[in-house]
Amino acid sequence: MAIRSFFLFILFFSSSLSPVFSLYEDQVGLMDWHQQYIGKVKQAVFSSQRAGRKRVVVSTEENVIASLDLRHGEIFWRHLLGADDVIDGIDIGLGKYVITLSSGGSILRSWNLPDGQMVWESSLQGPKHSKSFLLVPTNLKFDKDNVLVVFSNGRLHAISCIDGEVLWKKDFEAESFEVQQVILPPGSDLIHVVGFAAFSQFEMYQINAKNGELLKHESASFSSGFLGQVSLVSTETVVALDSTGSILLTISFQDGKISSQQTPISNLVEDSLGPAVIIPSSVSGIFAIKTDAVTIFIRVIGKGNLEVVEKTTHEIAVSDALSISEDQQAFALIQHASSEIHLTVKLAHDWDGNLLKESVKMDRQRGLVHKVFINNYIRTDRSYGFRVLIVMEDHSLLLLQQGEIVWSREDGLASIIDVTTSELPVERDGVSVAKVEHNLFEWLKGHMLKLKGTLMLASPEDMAAIQSMRLKSSEKSKMTRDHNGFRKLLIVLTRAGKLFALHTGDGRIVWSYLLRSLHKSEACQSPIGLNLYQWQVPHHHAMDENPSVLVVSRCGPSSDTSGVLSFVDTYTGKELSSLSLDHAVVQVIPLPYTDSTEQRLHLLIDADKHAHLYPKTSGALSIFKREFSNIYWYSVEDQNGIIKGHALKCKCTGEVADEFCFDTRDLWSVVFPSESEKTIATVTRKLNEVVHTQAKVVADEDVMYKYISRNLLFVATVAPKGSGEIGSVTPEESWLVAYLIDTVTGRILHRVTHHGSQGPVHAVFSENWVVYHYFNLRAHRYEMSVIEIYDQSRADNKDVWKLVLGKHNLTSPISLFSRPEVITKSQSYFFTHSLKAIAVTSTAKGITSKQLLLGTIGDQVLALDKRFLDPRRTVNPTQAEKEEGIIPLTDSLPIIPQSYVTHALRVEGLRGIITVPAKLESTTLVFAHGVDLFFTQLAPSRTYDSLTEDFSYALLLITIVALVAAIFVTWRLSERKELQEKWR
């Protein structure tokens, strides 16, 4: 009790209104780290500028365009486009502008290559949706103005490179015309547009590049139709596959005349291969087709004579062509061989000769090569050198030059799906990795420097030395567990199916593992990772075991494909085992029980509503049987607007005789009327959240009891009309309803309607409160509301005499089946920004006050004290309430710049915020991820239980010295005085 009151005292002490999170500029990087990524590269264009630093401009699947340093792989500049603004093509115009075509070919932008400033933006419209092409001809001029040719939305545009002005446009309105290629033969003023129409028609349009005039239109009919893409083998020849995928059509349109030739694939290759697809490539004279197992390279000789040049069963990747001189084109080819990749650079017309052949050792954990981009440079001896940029299966980007990996970027980390944490090993002999201080002299020097710093005597060089010393402190990046619990491993699962372990101290990658179970295989066509769970967290009796995580994945995008489980050791990064399930995984419920080896019990619900218990051990089964009737869960059916509660029934009946399979039954269901409500958000409390006390002492020494239940669900529904974007509805036809539902009984504990409001709703649930963010259409501002729920059945326990006489009901069992007497309090406030994510800090014992972490639209994370969202705020709080720390009510929530957790940084493309408690009660670890990663430590009530980083030991030392000196001086004085007294 003494400790509790002590903590309360401290909390009260720390509850001043000033922003709690605040940082001095020289503290940046001490406890936080920030990493910038770009995502999986889709397209890369090398800048051919002679002077200045070599750059490569890339576009990625995360909708990033970035300019990278070709020497080191660092980002010069980068822009993240909107989520719907998918990049279709990039190129460099005039050597100094980066041109991007995005949003399905409807937005064309130009960026300044050196600094990334947008120069102009054009909106391109067209009659209908189509493929889009961006071409930057080098020789096409229009009044001294370079011209871009863009085909998008069924319209061909010629656009000025300088200002984005549309010079001319030409519509292709024919109903069924589907463009396949736009060709600019070099050295002429013609543009060829080829495509298919009405299934079996091949169409060719010849257009004057000067004015967009249609010069010629030819068409030819092919009764067998077409399949997939065409490959351009020269400026006047394309190769296509017929609809069966077994006959190659070589179509040439020389001088506007269409002629064609059909070659069955079986004529070229003896053994039948099954249906093939064309791999688009731009290498003249050569194209590739791919069947399930084989990739075949075919050369076109003359007018439609085909010849197989190579047939390979290896995984292979080909680059686009690179013209190295007037009539020579080179391209790169990468083949895999166990732990190496072979890079060959060939000339387009000479398959057998190699310009370059290199082998590079490749980490197996990077998987296959997905894309290759080639660039050349001129060596000192005037011969051509080649460098290639490769994109791997794990989305990483590497630059190869002279048989070596010059640099690599782990861009898989730009697309994190799920995050969990793992403890580091306990410090033991031989476990510790980090070096301790080198020697006494160094140590002394360091401390002298620090002392100089505190006494403000240090020169700027000294300050820089101090700063780097603080940042490099080996203490925070050790590979062992620390006393405060600041050092942990962040285990992240990326979209590429790779697991990374990041050290919280400095963000470095400790290990990475490309999940074998997420490899494409016969049984599993397009595996996708879903979630990460802590599988084994050893602490008491299983100390020797390493912790492990469970990765749940499934074989396809739909929820009824079968699931795959893998178990990965978090110390070594090795896969312990993997299980291919014969059932689907719709829902995973981690149960709060562990078996004798501290493996966490998990219940997997499949598509047929059977529950499967993992791990499949008898120990787990016996624990599970004991808790059989206490297991409840719920499911949300978004489309139908139904929330159902479930419980276990019995062992599986029917054909599957499996001890670990159970039938389930529906307990309750809440059906929202589909014509007026559509669920858009559901939130529950975090499973591992710790609540310190149920009682909340309010003003006047009164007590309120929080209604704390793990089975509360927050549901937000909106009017179906209002589920779209802002501005699509009027306030009268839009509303938002918030529910608090008990997931065991299905009872609705609270329901509130916000008229004239709409989504998107971001909500967070913690302890006995929920905070949600939505849009208020009437005020046209964002709003945040808080609902707190209190238990009234315990409200009469306040009488001390009752407690003394034992007449209280504190020990009576809590059952969710009895109707809870609850009251709710709520309040709403305006909030300035749109949100992308919301989270709440969590600490080890739940004593420290809470902060909300708001991921704003500007990709920053703002810490907002929960006391600003207290429904008991009033305009004029009484003296007692003020003492309790209640803030006077204002209509909007304050945004204090110093409380931005991310300070002057942006977590570009923010998607999620995760908080993990440290062992130290005052501190919580925050990890925000998007395209960038950001990690920091937060102390919502300041670090009341440890000395802060900037605690001045020198001052303490000086004080002690001064005190000792004072003692001696006064002793002398008093002695002398006593002597004088005696003499008197």
């Binding site: 605040s22 001095y24 500049w77 603004d85 400033q117 947008m118 909106s123 004072a966 002793w971």
Partner: protein, 200 residues
């Protein structure tokens, strides 16, 4: 007030050409972001700070960037009421409510949502600069004295030097009585606490 309203209307009308219209029911919203580049804007002057400014429509539905002169535009926006936000590190911008009129060929009316101020033109300026870091106070004797250590030393000094002065001014009778009392209670004097004190 009556005089002000026509003036405001006039401004709106005159600025109408800058809010150009598109085809059918889709309109363009054009505007400008102005960031004061005065001598007062010091601090973390990031290179290319204009290039890192984003303009977001309806909570990220559309995102666009600024041209070198600060102009931006959203294309193909349906008529209705929209929200424009500006994200710029170091500045606080109020979101802007933008009404695109269907009747008046996409005429745009704008108002800041933070202070409900109407805008005659869609020119967005930051409400204030944002300082993300605490300013470190320069070294001063006062701050040293105010720290717990300083207070300790100060108190110590006060006791050591002021107390004897107080004692001196005391009545010798009273002093003796107090000393008697202390001795009887067995409170050790400072000198007896120290090793040398035990000798007398």
């Amino acid at each position: 007030m009556a005089a002000v309203t026509p003036l405001l209307l006039l401004l709106l009308l005159s600025s109408a050409p800058s809010f150009s219209s598109g085809s059918r029911n889709a309109y363009n919203i054009n505007g400008r972001v102005k960031i004061p580049q005065g001598p007062g804007t010091k601090g973390y002057a990031l290179p290319g700070r204009m290039s890192n400014v984003k303009v977001l429509l309806n909570g990220g539905q559309n995102i666009t960037f600024l041209r070198p002169d600060g102009y931006f535009s959203f294309h193909n926006i349906p008529a209705g009421t929209h929200l424009i936000e500006v994200s710029a590190i170091g500045y606080f911008f109020s979101p802007v409510r933008v009404d695109v009129s269907a009747r008046n060929l996409g005429k745009v009316q704008a108002a800041l949502t933070e202070n409900r101020k109407g805008l005659s033109e869609l020119v967005l300026e930051p409400l204030r600069e944002e300082q993300y870091y605490e300013i470190r106070e320069p070294f001063s004797i006062m701050s040293l004295l105010k720290s717990p250590m300083g207070l300790m030393v100060g108190f110590m000094l006060a006791v050591a030097f002021l107390m004897p002065k107080l004692v001196e001014n005391m009545d010798p009778e009273e002093m003796r009585r107090a000393q008697e009392e202390m001795r009887s209670q067995g409170v050790p004097s400072l000198s007896s606490l120290l090793p040398g004190g035990a000798m007398n």
